[in-house]
C-alpha cells in the first residue's frame, strides 16, 4: 500500500491505546476503506441480492454480479458460513414498489442483513425514477427510499456505504451495469449516501468505442488532476494532460508516466478554447472525454472579497470552462462521437463554505452548467456530469486552519477525508463508455458529509 494522505488521528485510534481512549471518549473511529486495486474483484465476499415487489431487475442484478466473480446469495447465510456469514454487499431491487405497505419488504430484507455487512460493505438500493411514477403513492414510495438509504448510510459502520441508483424506464441492464459495478466496488470507497439516476443510453451514441479513447484533463500537473489522469490512463485512455506552462516540468512527468501527452495551455487565455479544439481535432481526431478539473481558490470572507479575487476564481473555475465547452462543441472534429464531459464541482458549491463565497459561486455555477448542458448533449449522444468532492486530503485542503480541517475530516459518515483517487475513480466511472445513460448527474465524493443537502 502506498502512503496516502492519511491523518494522524486515524492512525492514533488504530493503536491499542488509541482504540481504548477513543471508545472511552466516544470519539469517532474511522475505518480503513476498501479501495479498488488492479486485478481485484468488484466485491471481495458474497452479495445478497433481494427483490421486493415484482423486482423486475433482480435477475439481471444477480447475473451482473456473478459475471464479476461474486458469489450471489438469495437469502441470508448461516452465521457459520464462509466469511463468518459476512456480506460484502446487499443489493435490493425496489424498482417494483408501488404501495406504502410494500416498503415493509425493504425493511424486512435489509434489517437482518445489515448487521452482517462486512467492513467497507455496500448497501445498494435500486429504485425507479420518481417522475415516472404512475401514481402518487408510487412516487411517495420511490422518494421514500432516498430517506431510507441516506439514514442507513449514516448508521453503516466500518467504512460501509449505502447508495441509491434510480433506473429510468427503458434503461437496459447494459445501461446501468457500470453504475452498479461502481457502487459495489472499492472504486466508490468515499461515495456515500448518494442518489444517481441512470437512463437509457442516447440513441445517437456511437455503436463502437475507439480502441484508445482520448481524454483531456485540465490542471493535470498535480493533486486530483494527476490522479484523474492516472485513473483514465489505467482504463486505457490516451490522456492529454493540460496545465499552465509554469507547471511544465511536473506536467511532463505526469504525461510521461501515464503515456499521454503534455499540453501547456492557460485555459483562461482568449486563444485557449480554439487552441484546444484545434489540438484535439488535428492531433487526436477528437476527444472522447473532457475533464474540467483546473481550479483555484482565493479565500476571503465575503466582506473582504475584492473584485480581483472574485474575477480570478470565476474566470478559471467557470468562465474558461464554458468557453472551452462552446469551442469544442462548435468545432467540427474537436470531439469524437459520444463525448463525455465531467466537470469538477465542489461540496462548497452545494453547501456553501465560510470564506469561499467566490469559489462556491463558481462551483455552484458548474452544476448549473452541467444540468443545462445534459439535455442538449443527449441529442448528440453525449453526456455531462458533475463530481463534487468533499474533504479530500490534498495540498489545497491542507492549507485550511487546523480546526476547520479536522472538522472537515470528521464531519461525514465515514469520519475521514477522502483521497484524490476516490475522486479520480468517480470521474473514470462517468467517463466509462458504458455509463452513457448517466447524464446531468451531480455525484458527491464526500463520505456523506454532514454539510449540504
Amino acid at each position: 500500500m502506498p502512503t496516502q494522505p492519511t491523518d494522524r488521528y486515524a492512525q492514533f485510534v488504530g493503536t491499542a491505546p488509541g482504540t481504548w481512549l477513543s471508545s472511552q471518549l466516544g470519539l469517532p473511529r474511522p475505518a480503513e476503506l476498501r479501495r479498488a486495486q488492479p486485478g481485484k474483484r468488484v466485491l471481495d465476499g458474497p452479495a445478497l441480492v433481494v427483490g421486493t415487489g415484482l423486482a423486475p431487475l433482480r435477475a439481471d442484478l444477480a447475473d451482473l454480479l456473478r459475471a464479476a466473480g461474486t458469489d450471489v446469495l438469495d437469502e441470508l447465510p448461516e452465521e457459520a458460513a464462509d466469511h463468518g456469514g459476512r456480506l460484502a454487499a446487499i443489493v435490493v431491487d425496489a424498482t417494483g414498489l408501488r404501495e406504502v405497505a410494500e416498503l415493509e419488504q425493504v425493511r424486512a430484507a435489509v434489517v437482518p442483513a445489515f448487521r452482517r455487512l462486512a467492513p467497507s460493505g455496500r448497501l445498494l438500493v435500486v429504485a425507479a425514477a420518481v417522475d415516472e411514477a404512475a401514481t402518487v403513492a408510487a412516487a411517495a414510495v420511490q422518494q421514500g427510499l432516498e430517506g431510507f438509504v441516506r439514514s442507513a448510510a449514516k448508521e453503516a459502520r466500518a467504512g460501509a456505504t449505502a447508495n441509491l441508483v434510480r433506473v429510468r424506464a427503458g434503461a437496459s441492464a447494459a445501461d446501468w451495469a457500470s453504475t452498479v459495478e461502481f457502487f459495489c466496488s472499492g472504486r466508490s470507497a468515499y461515495v456515500d449516501g448518494q442518489v444517481v439516476t441512470v437512463g437509457p443510453a442516447p440513441a445517437a451514441a456511437p455503436a463502437q468505442e475507439r480502441e484508445r479513447p482520448v481524454a483531456v484533463v485540465t490542471g493535470a500537473a498535480q493533486g486530483i488532476g494527476a490522479a484523474i489522469a492516472e485513473a483514465l490512463a489505467r482504463g486505457g485512455a490516451h490522456v492529454v494532460c493540460v496545465d499552465i506552462a509554469a507547471q511544465g516540468e511536473a506536467l511532463a512527468q505526469v504525461a510521461n508516466r501515464v503515456g499521454g501527452t503534455a499540453l501547456h495551455l492557460d485555459i483562461t487565455s482568449a486563444s485557449a478554447p480554439a487552441a484546444l479544439a484545434e489540438h484535439l481535432r488535428t492531433r487526436h481526431g477528437g476527444a472522447d472525454v473532457i475533464v474540467h478539473n483546473a481550479g483555484i481558490t482565493r479565500d476571503k470572507l465575503l466582506v473582504n472579497t475584492d473584485a480581483d479575487r472574485w474575477a480570478s476564481v470565476l474566470e478559471v473555475n467557470l468562465a474558461a470552462e464554458l468557453r472551452i465547452d462552446d469551442a469544442l462543441l462548435e468545432t467540427e472534429g474537436a470531439l469524437h462521437a459520444g463525448a463525455r464531459f465531467v466537470c469538477l464541482s465542489s461540496l462548497s458549491g452545494i453547501a456553501g463554505n465560510r470564506g469561499q463565497v467566490n469559489y462556491s459561486t463558481s462551483k455552484a455555477g458548474v452544476i448549473g452548467a452541467v444540468r443545462a448542458m445534459a439535455p442538449l448533449l443527449a441529442k448528440r449522444g453525449m453526456t455531462a456530469n458533475a463530481v463534487a468532492p468533499g474533504f479530500i486530503e490534498t495540498a489545497m485542503t491542507a492549507r485550511m486552519p487546523v480546526a476547520t480541517r479536522e472538522m472537515g475530516r470528521r464531519a461525514n459518515s465515514l469520519q475521514q477525508g477522502g483521497r484524490p483517487e476516490d475522486v479520480a475513480e468517480t470521474v473514470a466511472w462517468l467517463a466509462d463508455p458504458r455509463s452513457r445513460g448517466v447524464n446531468g448527474q451531480v455525484v458527491r465524493v464526500c463520505g456523506q458529509s454532514l454539510l449540504g443537502a
Binding site: P2, T3, T6, R8, G18, Q253, A398, R399
Partner: protein
C-alpha cells in the same frame, strides 16, 4: 503498522549525526523504554538543487525536479538517529543492524517543496535472532500532505523483546530472474562520498581503519547507498507512486566488484546486488502504487 506517538518534539535544527554517533557509543540502553512514546518532527525542511545534485551524483540518478524515492530517507535519518540516541531507547545503537527498508510514496517529492519530516518508532517485535524495531520516517509537504514514508527495520541481535511482543514474520525477498548481470566496481571512497551527502558518518563506512575498530575487515557500503544505486538503474522505469521493499543481506565490502541484476516482475521490478557465488548483499522489490 503506523503508529502515532503521543508526544511530538519539534526539532529546531537538523540533528548533527557527527555528534550523535559518539553519544551512541556511550549511551546506555533502557530495556524497559517504550520507543513509541516520542516522535521527533522537523518543519520547514527544503531540499535545494545543490544537495539533490550531490546525492544524485553519488547514487547514479539523473538530476530532475523530482526527488528519487530513496532521497527522503536521508532527510529522516538524522531524526531517527536522534530518537534512538537522545530519547529512552531499549537497545544499544552500536550493533543494531539495518536489515530491511520499506519505502512508500504516493508521488515523487519535488525540489523546493517545503517539507515536514517526522521520525517515530513502532513497538519492538521479537525475532529468531533477537528483537527488531521499526524506525519510521514520514515526509510530507508543509501543507500537511503526507507523501513519503520509510520504515527502517533494525535488528538487535541477542536482545529480547518485551513479553507479549508480536513476532517479526518477514520472509526473505526472492532474487530476480535475471539474464546477464551488470558488473559494479564499488570504489573505496564510496562510503565517504555517501556520508558526505547523507550525513551518515558511521565509522564502519568511512575507512578501513575505522571499520576495523568495529570488527569489519574493510569499510562497508551504506545499505541505503547500495539500494539507491540499484534503484537508480531503473531510473525512468520507476513508477511515480510506488512501494519498495529492500532487504539488506551480507555487508558489501568497499573496493570490491559485485554483480547487479534487475528484472521485471509483473507490474514491478526486482533487483539485487550480489557478490561472489551469488550471495546477495541487497535485494529489492519495486511495486507500483
Amino acid at each position: 503498522m503506523s503508529t502515532v506517538a503521543p508526544f511530538v518534539r519539534v526539532l529546531d535544527a537538523p540533528p548533527v549525526l557527527a555528534r550523535l554517533y559518539p553519544r551512541a557509543v556511550t549511551s546506555r540502553p533502557d530495556p524497559s523504554a517504550d520507543p513509541t512514546r516520542t516522535a521527533l518532527e522537523q518543519r520547514g525542511v527544503r531540499v535545494d538543487a545543490d544537495r539533490l545534485a550531490a546525492y544524485d551524483r553519488v547514487c547514479g540518478f539523473p538530476l530532475r525536479d523530482d526527488l528519487p524515492p530513496t532521497f527522503p530517507h536521508i532527510l529522516g535519518f538524522g531524526a531517527q538517529m536522534a530518537l534512538m540516541v537522545t530519547e529512552p531507547f531499549p537497545f544499544r545503537l552500536v550493533g543494531l543492524v539495518h536489515v530491511r527498508q520499506r519505502i512508500e510514496q504516493s508521488r515523487p517529492l519535488r525540489l523546493g517543496e517545503e517539507l515536514t519530516v517526522r521520525a517515530s518508532a513502532a513497538p519492538v517485535r521479537s525475532h529468531r535472532s533477537g528483537a527488531v524495531v521499526d524506525l519510521v520516517a514520514e515526509v510530507g509537504t508543509g501543507d500537511g500532505e503526507p507523501v513519503w514514508r520509510g520504515v527502517s527495520t533494525y535488528l538487535a541481535r541477542g536482545a529480547s523483546a518485551p513479553a507479549g511482543a508480536v513476532a517479526d514474520d518477514a520472509v526473505d525477498l526472492p532474487m530476480p530472474d535475471a539474464g546477464q548481470p551488470a558488473l559494479w566496481r564499488v570504489p573505496a571512497d564510496t562510503g565517504r562520498r555517501y556520508a558526505g551527502v547523507s550525513g551518515d558518518v558511521n565509522p564502519i563506512h568511512l575507512s578501513t581503519a575505522s571499520a576495523r575498530l568495529l570488527g569489519f575487515k574493510r569499510a562497508i557500503a551504506h545499505g541505503m547507498w547500495t539500494a539507491a544505486r540499484s534503484l537508480a538503474t531503473l531510473d525512468a522505469r520507476l513508477p511515480q507512486a510506488l512501494t519498495v521493499d529492500v532487504q539488506f543481506a551480507k555487508p558489501l565490502l568497499l573496493g570490491s566488484t559485485v554483480q547487479h541484476v534487475a528484472a521485471r516482475d509483473g507490474d514491478g521490478w526486482r533487483t539485487a546486488v550480489r557478490g561472489r557465488g551469488g550471495i546477495p548483499h541487497v535485494v529489492t522489490r519495486v511495486l507500483p502504487g
